[in-house]
């Protein structure tokens, strides 16, 4: 038949099938043979069961009759439904609730004993009831507790007494009954329960063990053997990744704690400043009180004067400013013993960048780089903090890199007694380097106050400093000279310090009267070394003046250069910043105190008529009209902030004291490098025209251009406290007026500073500073040009979060606060990184 010659197509489930009644297709049977083409579907039953007699019979019956016949059904074991006592044992009516029944989770856990009393128990309980008070439920509870308290072995009577609250007598009765019953019981427990799997896996095949716990085996698709392996790999990957998450989380935490520590230390330093605790005495006291409590972290008791080398008047103005700022905004110096040693100060001091010992700066740069190394901050910061306390100090203090630090895993040999070795201080003929720093130079001791003549110092084991004295014919002269020098400030009457310039002038004139030697020293022909001893000023600094002192330090430190630049007599500029003022610290401090007193008076004035007093006290302030001045205040404030940020940044990058800010920098470098670049560029571009405006403002005050950078900063620091304290609101209102000016000022000064400061330092420093500039520009102002703000936001969304109108006291803090989100951001970034 031709109809059969072709094969039927496969059944297509998506193809419409017309439905016919058989009676409409009388010729259907002719096609019946092709039906074989439709594949038979499996029944879904097990093959062997499929052929069972009763099933086959039922199926055929169904096919024959279209329905099952009673005698053709599959027989099953019988079931009865005529339990006579059903009504009696199941309690009465249960009304069907109108609503669908909704069960609350865990509402089923009624505190009912699992044990059910049986007839045997009932007899016992009834018997017992005659003697003592017991009800079936109580009995069940007792048995329940005994059973659940027992493991493989039944509990002892002693334990039973602990388990049960009943009378001893009752417990004993029930316990004995229970023990007896348990012995005759076939099961492991009187409360029958399904056998649990054994841990050793021996119950794999026990048919009575049921409901085994599912192990964490995955459900892979059938017939895919490698699925499980892949799954396990994925599991491992997941585990590893989550471990990475944990590690990063912990890093984040560690860095946070470090920042916290930094803030605390900063706060302590500030407090100590305010208290005038320059010698660390108060701190020591506090620490002594805290001693029994064992602080987790030793708060550094550094004499505050350590880091402010005011003896070095020759240090460039801006740099001095920085030092001041650093005192305020900065500092974490974990205490180490050797820090108490008299600080070594090279006489030449490398005041100018050119003279800086070439070793020092590269070290900084290296540290800068280290800091960008995000997770490396385990040990590093400490050493960095120790070695690089401040740039100025770093430059002057050759000890930093040589300071002895016991390194883990390092072997220290006993000294060679027979040879001197190649120490830097050993002369070349003895096989040493004969380093210039270790040449004999004039040395002054602080206690007792005298010049000991020529000496050289070298660093011994553990950072100890040895002074090798050398005899010279001038020894007696030196002694004399020193005394004169030391006593000199005392000769100056207090009221002579009318203003800073006068003080300086008087100092200068006084110094001119000194002997030729001193002149030599000053001009750095002779080096003069004087170890600093902080405790000298204790008596001088009383509570009241301490606050002012700080300001005066600020002020003097900054005003000085201003005057210095103005005074044409200084050779320092022309002599490329060689040592100039050989003030001793004592002199300087006393000077400071005079200033402080004066400042105090000024402050009183300021509070009454702030604008006038400000302008009168500061040489650099004579440029402003009232409105201008408020703007200028703003400028200064912005400047101040910027500078603080800047200084801290700079120091940071230089000396690694600011781990957190370094982090931020590193974040910028790492995460936002591209954006930063953009922002920086635009910041520069956008600001430069404005800076012209600013310049004009200042040029009108006939300040030499050279001063533009320094004098505002000086004024800024000097003005900062008073203006902020009394006039925060006004300065804020002024903000809106002088936005652009302030903005430009900020950048201008920053760039100026930057240029000046970074002459010696490598490109890395510039790099690190540059993005910071970009950061601080927007932050200084509340109402930044929207474009700039936008840019800032793109660069670093945290910037916009910083409250621009935060209180003055928290100015240094503000920097940190702005860093916080930045840091968080880092963390977030990292987390996000590992998540992906």
């Amino acid at each position: 038949m031709s109809k059969l010659s072709f094969r039927a197509r496969a059944l297509d489930a998506s193809k419409p099938l017309p439905v016919f009644r058989c009676e409409d297709l009388p010729d259907l049977h002719e096609y019946a043979s092709i039906n074989r083409a439709v594949p038979q579907m499996p029944t879904g039953m097990e093959k062997e069961e499929e052929s069972e007699h009763h099933l086959q019979r039922a199926i055929s019956a169904q096919q024959v009759y279209g329905e099952k016949r009673d005698n053709m059904v599959i027989p099953v074991p019988e079931a009865e439904s005529n339990i006579a006592y059903y009504e009696s044992i199941y309690p009465g009516e249960f009304k069907m609730p109108k609503q669908l029944i909704h069960i609350q989770p865990f509402s089923l856990d009624a505190e009912q004993p699992d044990y059910d009393l049986d007839s045997e128990d009932e007899v016992f309980v009834n018997k017992l009831k005659k003697k003592m008070d017991i009800c079936p439920l109580q009995f069940e509870e007792m048995i329940d507790r005994l059973e659940k308290g027992s493991g493989q072995q039944p509990v002892s009577l002693q334990e039973a007494k602990l388990l049960l609250k009943e009378d001893d007598e009752l417990i004993r009765e029930v316990y004995e009954y229970w023990i007896k019953k348990r012995k005759t019981c076939r099961g492991p427990s009187l409360i029958p329960s399904v056998k649990q799997e054994k841990r050793d896996g021996s119950s794999t095949n026990d048919p009575y063990v049921a409901f085994r716990r599912r192990t964490e085996k995955m459900q892979t698709r059938k017939n895919r053997k490698n699925d499980e392996a892949s799954y396990e790999k994925m599991l491992k990957l997941r585990r590893d990744l989550s471990r990475a998450v944990t590690i990063l989380e912990m890093i984040k935490r560690r860095e946070k704690s470090k920042r916290e520590l930094l803030h605390l230390t900063l706060e302590i330093m500030e407090k100590r400043y305010n208290l005038g605790d320059y010698s660390g005495e108060i701190m020591c006291e506090v620490m002594a009180q805290r001693q029994p409590m064992k602080p987790t972290y030793a708060v550094p008791i550094i004499p505050i004067t350590n880091s402010s080398q005011f003896k070095h008047q020759e240090v460039m103005d801006v740099k001095e400013f920085k030092v001041n700022k650093q005192d305020k905004a900065d500092i974490v110096r974990p205490k180490r013993k050797y820090e108490k040693k008299p600080k070594v100060l090279p006489s030449s001091a490398a005041a100018t960048p050119q003279q800086t010992s070439p070793a020092a700066l590269p070290v900084f740069n290296a540290k800068d780089l280290n800091q960008y190394d995000f997770p490396s901050s385990d040990e590093e910061p400490l050493s960095q903090v120790l070695s690089g306390s401040s740039e100025a100090e770093e430059e002057n203090d050759p000890d930093g890199p040589f300071a002895f630090r016991r390194k883990a895993g390092c072997q220290y040999y006993a000294p060679h007694l027979d040879q001197t070795g190649n120490w830097p201080w050993t002369s070349p003929k003895d096989g040493g380097l004969g380093d210039v720093r270790y040449r004999y130079c004039l040395t002054t001791l602080t206690v007792p106050q005298r010049c000991i003549g020529f000496a050289r110092r070298r660093v011994g084991r553990g950072g100890r400093v040895f002074l090798d004295r050398a005899h010279s014919d001038y020894d007696s002269v030196f002694r004399h000279l020193d005394l004169e020098m030391l006593s000199s400030p005392q000769h100056s009457p207090v009221n002579q310090f009318a203003n800073t310039s006068e003080t300086n002038t008087s100092d200068r004139s006084f110094s001119k009267d000194l002997s030729q030697i001193l002149v030599n020293i000053k001009s750095c022909r002779w080096r003069h070394f004087r170890p600093r001893t902080p405790s000298l000023h204790d008596s001088d600094s009383d509570e009241l003046s301490s606050r002012k002192l700080y300001r005066s330090i600020n002020r003097t430190g900054t005003a000085q250069p201003g005057t210095q630049t103005c005074s044409t007599s200084t050779q320092s500029k022309s002599s490329s910043g060689s040592t100039h003022f050989a003030f001793t610290a004592e002199q300087y401090q006393q000077h400071q105190q005079q200033l402080a007193l004066m400042q105090k008076q000024q402050l009183a004035q300021i509070q009454q008529q702030q604008a006038n007093s400000n302008s009168s006290t500061n040489t650099s302030q004579n440029l402003a009209s009232n409105q201008q001045k408020s703007g200028f205040h703003l400028n200064i404030q912005g400047l101040e902030r910027t500078l603080q940020g800047f200084v801290s940044k700079t120091l940071d990058s230089a000396s690694a004291q600011f781990a957190a800010s370094a982090l931020m920098t590193s974040e910028q470098l790492m995460g936002f490098k591209m954006k930063d670049d953009v922002v920086l560029g635009i910041g520069v571009n956008g600001v430069l025209p404005a800076s012209g405006l600013y310049k004009g403002l200042h040029l009108s005050s006939t300040t030499p251009t050279a001063l533009v950078h320094t004098s505002p900063s000086a004024a800024g620091s000097a003005l900062l406290q008073p203006s902020n304290i009394t006039q925060t609101s006004s300065s804020h209102s002024a903000l809106s007026h002088q936005v652009t000016a302030a903005n430009s000022a900020t950048t201008q000064v920053l760039f100026g500073n930057n240029i000046r400061l970074t002459v010696p330092s490598s490109v890395a420093t510039v790099n690190s500073i540059a993005p910071m500039n970009a950061r601080h520009i927007p932050r200084t102002l509340s109402a930044v040009p929207s474009s700039a703000l936008k840019l800032a936001t793109t660069a670093n969304c945290q910037v916009s979060k910083v409250p621009s109108s935060s209180s003055v006291d928290s100015v240094p803090r503000e920097n940190h606060e702005s860093e916080k989100p930045a840091l968080n951001n880092i963390a977030d970034n990292t987390v996000a990184m590992e998540v992906t």
Partner: protein, 461 residues
Amino acid sequence: MAEVGEIIEGCRLPVLRRNQDNEDEWPLAEILSVKDINGRKLFYVHYIDFNKRLDEWVTHERLDLKKIQFPKKEAKTPTKNGLPGSRPGSPEREVKRKVEVVSPATPVLSETAPASVFPQNGSARRAVAAQPGRKRKSNCLGTDEDSQDSSDGIPSAPRMTGSLVSDRSHDDIVTRMKNIECIELGRHRLKPWYFSPYPQELTTLPVLYLCEFCLKYGRSLKCLQRHLTKCDLRHPPGNEIYRKGTISFFEIDGRKNKSYSQNLCLLAKCFLDHKTLYYDTDPFLFYVMTEYDCKGFHIVGYFSKEKESTEDYNVACILTLPPYQRRGYGKLLIEFSYELSKVEGKTGTPEKPLSDLGLLSYRSYWSQTILEILMGLKSESGERPQITINEISEITSIKKEDVISTLQYLNLINYYKGQYILTLSEDIVDGHERAMLKRLLRIDSKCLHFTPKDWSKRGKW
């Protein structure tokens, strides 16, 4: 003529059995176990080619000892050759497997079955162990099955998905035999059909008493009475998601309500041969159908369902309790399971293997459902009404394969003039109409209050 004492496991002989029509029959049966109670020997017999559920303990009077066939040592048993596919009736395979699989782990066996306490199990085991001939024979067998078995000789845990075992390598003579004599549940007494892992100490009881609401098992009526004073459940401990008339459905989470789920599984295992209780109930939901009367919501049947099925299963185990069987409840359960699938927007199929009763019930449901659709099709504008298999599947939530198999089973698919057509014969139509008249219990989807949960989002079920 053999002596009663000579009868051992593996012997085959006709055993007297009364069929549904109350007629005496002598079907061939196999002795699976022998036990001695008060000097009276009892024999556990499996009727060849009858379902296991009819296996029973018989006295020697019902054995036709004249026609006894002792287990052969080498040759295949007649069942194997003559009656292929009668696996349940082939204890030889069981025993052999037992020897193969279990005897390496003899310590486990002796540990799990203290012979003194449980004579019937113990004797079975001992008898098996004492059959060297069997062992040799089993070693000689080289069929496909056997090679399969030996390759899988090491006992391993069964797969974790699903609720049924098709691979019976873990079968053991213990699970081949019913262990509970009788279960009392509410006003019903049920004779279990299969083994269920109730606590072993309860297997010797003549009656196991179950609380009909929480399904907790007790050893005596007194215990049940005591339990009922403490148990205040009057319905399955879950959320009622359907109610129409007296019929309700309760949804129970196998993870949240473990004790009820386990008790339900233990009870269900008595009537489901392929059900496995190897693993916990966590990945399952249980839908318990109840019938309300003044005493409460009485369990009629249930089906379980995997929270997440990798193979489109919408039912794992399904059971109508014997007292309610053959009254339409099974179809109601099936219908409900498809209603749930419709709400979920999926097609589903019951987990395999199906039992004989399962196959009949499902076929019946599928046939009626599909025929209902086909007969309801109206011809549009004089054209032949037509429908695709996919459409049927979508409307009914019946998986496509099941639709096709049903159409085939009903012989509706025909190849006619170059295309497939569906043909409805008069017989089919009549039979369907008659059947639908009798099918009074239906699910009303309006009474269903069910929101499917996406379990994949919930971690571990």
